[in-house]
Amino acid sequence: MKSVVVALGLMAWAATAVAADHRVVIEGMAFTPKVVAVKPGDTITWVNQDIVVHNVTAGAAGIKSGDLKPGQSWRHTVRRGVSFDYLCSLHPVMTGRVQVEGEGKPLRPARPRSTS
């Protein structure tokens, strides 16, 4: 039993050890880098260094940071192996993408099903 606990602990440690932290800077009305490549378990921190309020929103992926005032940041851990596009819903011209390695198709808004 003890060995199982140790093994599980080691696995958890290993998972934590390989998870990476990524940083996306919001400045000049843009997300930089525009595309961030991650693995499941990685953490992304968006930092608002701009002069106005922004947010990070991806409705289809359930991502919603809420308002990030200048100087504020928001952290998100990628739990699923699915890439997604996001935007600042306050300034829809600002877009970005989280590209998850080893995943299938990106999340897209669900299309209405035909009833015919």
Partner: protein, 175 residues
Amino acid sequence: MTIKKPLATVLCALLAAAPLGAVHAANPNDAQIAAIVVAANTVDIDAGKLAESKTKNKDVRAFAQRMVADHSGVNKQAVALVKKLHVTPEANDTSKSLTQGGETTRDRLKGLSGHDFDKAYVDNEVSYHETVLDALDKTLIPGASNAELKALLVKVRPAFVAHLEHAKHIQAELK
């Protein structure tokens, strides 16, 4: 042939929805630039507040709310900077014309409603942001002598670009 006009005349004409000409550098000093920046933002804040109260279009309302919030944020930073630099914004022909032109535009918009209002407001927003960008590039940024003031203007510029793109998108939808 390019017709050159003083900056004040052009910005005033812009806000009254008159045809635009090329922006001629009027060589304002830093105190005057500060006053122009504050006046330009205030004009768009006031227009946004009017749009918030009049429009029934959700996209126009969201855009107007964004203009009020963003330009208020820019003004807050501009005022904080001039205080730090011990610069007193100096009213000048351009800042006065901006304020007067803004009032003229709001009076015109107040007489409109529905789609006519939305279209006139958004058309004016496109022209406004285009001309302020032109003024930033040709007069305000090159003319600022204080490094921090110049840096703030450079930092503000992308917001005007994004607002312009956003306004053009809504403008296309309203046609």
